[in-house]
């Protein structure tokens, strides 16, 4: 494990915050339910997108857990767009809590930091799918959900190895051609990131 691979801890309330915005998708719903279960504060808003596929009916459970404060989105994209728009008018004292796939966590973080939030105002928990987004360093294509250590790049057809080196800005791991030196010599494909 290398130092450029992020690590995560379960979400916990920042008791110093004045208002709390909880944003999650898919399996991240579990983390939000646990957080809401652990305590309540004034001024909580919950946002949730069910995709890829909300297996455990988190939407309904979150709606019950925070009825006045719950908003559902059909897609992650729509939810991120709404996040961007809302942060433009948010006030100091806000704390942001994110839960879901790693790619979601860092795409949302990018939106938050562009709006002026600093690292101590944002908390992240990886929950649900452990699939990796992979940036092909050769053609710059990003393949968003990779579960294996080796993949064929949809952009340039090279066989890529997925490294642990992570870019928060791109919200992706680096992939590079694994058989450049010995064409066809490809390690065994393993499902490592499901």
């Amino acid at each position: 494990m290398i130092h450029s691979k992020p690590s995560y801890v379960p979400l916990a309330w920042d008791t110093e915050g004045a208002s709390h915005l909880l944003v999650a998708h898919a399996g991240g719903g579990e983390a939000l339910l646990r957080l809401l279960d652990s305590g309540r504060y004034a001024s909580i808003t919950v946002r949730y997108a069910g995709e890829p596929f909300d297996n455990a009916d988190y939407a309904a459970r979150l709606a019950r857990a925070a009825p006045e404060a719950f908003q559902y989105f059909d897609s992650v994209e729509a939810m991120l767009d709404a996040l961007r728009a809302d942060l433009a008018t948010s006030r100091m004292g806000l704390r942001l809590y994110l839960a879901g796939s790693e790619r979601f966590l860092w795409r949302a973080t990018g939106i938050a930091t562009a709006a002026g939030l600093c690292a101590d105002e944002i908390r992240r928990e990886q929950a649900g799918s452990r699939a990796r987004a992979v940036y092909c360093v050769h053609c710059k294509n990003i393949e968003p959900q990779v579960t294996t250590n080796i993949l064929t790049c949809p952009g340039c057809a090279r066989t890529l190895m997925v490294r642990d080196h992570y870019s928060a800005r791109l919200a992706a791991y680096m992939g590079f051609q694994v058989d450049a030196e010995a064409p066809g010599a490809i390690p065994a494909v393993e499902t490592l990131y499901a």
């Binding site: 940036y135 360093v137 710059k140 590079f176």
Partner: protein
């Protein structure tokens, strides 16, 4: 004294060659028979006349050819240059520092006239003369970091200092040893050093970061880094790895002298005035084993360093396929006698 600039290539036909003077001033990095990580930083004060350490930014006989190689690399992949929006002050800091230094240290080749904020920059080797208003990007054909870095030798990264850390938020990187600016741009100090083995565990980066956060104007520092490359190729980026990776399989005991190059990076760090950022300059020097062999002391020492290199470093520096061939080639210089500390050619 004027430099005779060479016409040579760092790709395809690889016509790059060092003159004897270039070999003699090569910044050989090994003072001892074994190599170990350390925060081996020293003040970047003027070194011996004629050496690679004499001036803040070293210009040598390869200057014109390297600028052309950079131009080609950028035309194939513009993302070898990145500058995040908040780095404009740092960009101007860079232009000022590099142009002031080159005009002061190589007056026969460069000139800088200042009439208030109207500056005229003359670059004779590249045939450039431009007048612009310092601080006003609209008066330059490219933004200031892009403009100036295309006229300087080596790679450059501009670091933003904030939140108790350093962030690689701008860069011109076309002669790197296997790291991607397009990928690493925006990373913090420990993040972009993430892939380096062993060093994190012994606290090298914690100490280096604390030291650099307190780096002061007027007191730049430098260190040397090293690896090896097959063929004198400047662009050994992850992006172009499919082009240069296969060359590692070409090395034999017979051709190692010509093909394999010791690649040394003279890295310097300067505190920047207006942005309060740091310039990280990475100046690449290449010497073939044939070049190194002109000084048996260097050959012996390089052999001993390679023999004692830990496996993680052999792997990380990409030497696995051809280290045996290189050691075999160098072994003719081994005489079993002790060599004293020091890097001088002999």
């Amino acid at each position: 004294m004027s430099i005779a600039f060479k016409n040579e290539t760092f790709r395809d036909d690889f016509t790059f060659r060092n003159s004897p003077a270039a070999v003699r001033r090569f910044p050989f990095p090994f003072a001892e028979d074994t190599y170990a990580y350390s925060v081996n930083i020293e003040p970047h004060t003027p070194g011996a006349a004629g050496s690679a350490f004499e001036f803040a930014f070293d210009i040598d006989e390869h200057y014109v050819a390297e600028c052309e190689d950079r131009r080609v690399t950028l035309s194939l992949d513009p993302e070898r240059y990145v500058a995040l929006p908040h780095m404009m002050d740092a960009q101007w800091d860079f232009l000022e520092l590099v142009f002031d230094s080159l005009a002061r240290d190589y007056p026969q080749h460069f000139g800088l006239r200042k009439d208030g904020a109207r500056w005229t920059w003359i670059n004779r080797p590249l045939g450039i003369q431009d007048t612009f208003t310092f601080g006003d990007s609209t008066t330059l054909a490219r933004e200031p970091f892009d403009y100036a870095a295309r006229q300087a030798q080596g790679d450059f990264v501009l670091l933003d200092q904030r939140d108790g850390d350093l962030w690689a938020d701008a860069g011109m990187v076309t002669s790197q040893a296997d790291w991607s600016l397009a990928f690493d741009a925006g990373m913090s100090f420990k993040q972009w050093h993430g892939p380096v083995p062993m060093a994190h565990e012994i606290g090298v980066f914690d100490r280096a970061l604390k030291y650099l956060l307190a780096l002061r104007q007027g007191q730049p520092v430098r260190r040397l880094n090293w690896t090896m490359t097959v063929n004198p190729r400047l662009d050994t980026s992850p992006e172009s790895y499919p082009l240069w990776g296969p060359d590692r399989t070409l090395v034999t005991t017979e051709n190692a002298g010509r093909l394999v190059h010791l690649r040394v990076e003279l890295q310097a760090l300067f505190r920047l005035p207006r942005s309060n950022g740091i310039l990280f300059s990475i100046r690449c020097y290449l010497a073939s084993l044939d070049d190194i062999a002109k000084y048996p002391r260097w050959s012996k020492r390089l052999l001993r360093v390679l023999q004692s290199l830990p496996p993680q470093l052999v792997e990380y520096k990409g030497l696995v396929r051809y280290r045996d061939a290189v050691m075999s080639w160098l072994s003719r210089y081994e005489d079993g006698q002790p060599i004293g500390r020091g890097t001088h050619p002999e």
